[in-house]
Subunit: 231 residues, 2 copies
């Protein structure tokens, strides 16, 4: 644990509240579908879309474009016809306007005093920069699947963080609210911090956030991670 | 000018003082060569090394590794034998420890209130992140040739900034202390800001920093750029 120099953060669900943010914006547009349902359906298309890229079924495609493909499918599925091209483009960029969890900025600011902190997200660089600027996330560096042209959980992404900063994999910690992401990082030799986000899918569908012994740290949120790491 | 959304900054010479920083560190090591001479010789190897990459003579190679190749040549040329591998690695990373010009942090902070500000440097991502963390450069995003796997002045780097942020090339301004960099950006449709750095090569070798009409803005430093852009 004393070897850690870099902490890389998953973003969607870990640092920002995608579910609540997308649901609120969809509700505000009055499209005739519940925002919470639309947010879950949009996110459900995300992993299959990335798998199409990872499998080689299509070339490298950034998340903005994958989000747009899924959005177009959903607009058809829900028979939503009132949006012109400009409105669709704007709605697609709701993923650039996700609100941070209340502890994110304070926790990251504390961690930054002792560690190099970066994102490691499947979101594209422009999306992550917009999120950071809007929410005030104080990254030392924005790293994205787009830098590596591979999506997590490809080992090139986790090992890429170590390579970028010229450190050993064991000197990098991945912080994420998702066990599959952490497991893939651990297989590459990274330390792992599980961040509890019990309301990632809404307060009405609480997520199991019980501790698992394989993680280096289990933290109730990012401020608590900072406390545990002595920041 | 009112269309500008993104300002991308060249780094070496424009935001940080590579010459003075490298010269001071070399002098402090007492290697038997004047720091100012060593700094100039090191930098002189930089463009030819990048051209070897651009020409395809060698595969993609980051600046840290090009700097090391040049350093090894210089240690031989100057018959410097007193450095072990750890000392060579540490000296090579002097390029991660360059001091910012006195106006850089204040100017960038002002520009950040109105624009998205990023680096666009041939330095690798880890180098740029280390520079920023040490000097407090408040980037919204670190962009590097490493993201595009092309070195400036390849058009893919300038157009890459526009693509990353999903804006038109004319909505991006490159700020640099070098006319060749600005000319290449202008050929891609970017706006350009020339930043005077008369002492880039030391106070004893003042650089011609006279204005050229082809640039969108001519600024005496980054604080002055902020003033001219209404920040």
């Amino acid at each position: 644990m004393n070897d850690i120099k870099i902490i890389a953060f998953d973003i969607f669900g870990t640092v920002v509240d995608w579910y609540g943010s997308v649901a609120r914006e969809v509700d505000s547009l009055d499209l005739g579908v519940r925002g919470s349902e639309f947010a879950m359906a949009w996110r459900a298309g995300y992993k299959p879309a990335m798998q199409r890229v990872a499998s080689g079924a299509c070339g490298w495609t950034i998340i903005d474009d994958l989000h747009r493909q899924i959005l177009d499918e959903l607009l058809e599925r829900y028979a939503i016809t009132g949006l012109d091209e400009q409105a669709k483009r704007r709605l697609n960029k709701v993923w650039h306007r996700l609100d941070a969890w209340p502890d994110s900025v304070a926790g990251l600011t504390r961690l930054k005093s002792k560690y190099t902190i970066c994102s490691l997200s499947n979101g594209n660089i422009g999306l992550l920069a917009d999120l950071a600027k809007r929410a005030g996330l104080p990254w030392d560096c924005i790293l994205s699947a787009e830098v590596f042209r591979k999506y997590k959980p490809d080992p090139d992404t986790y090992l890429g963080v170590a390579r970028i900063f010229d450190v050993a994999p064991g000197e990098v910690m991945l912080a994420a609210a998702h066990h599959d992401d952490l497991a893939a990082a651990r297989a590459c030799g990274l330390a792992t911090a599980y961040i509890e986000r019990p309301t990632e899918f809404g307060a009405e569908k609480p997520k199991d956030v019980s501790a698992r012994p394989e993680n280096t740290v289990h933290a109730s949120n990012i401020e608590n991670l900072a406390t545990q790491l002595g920041c």
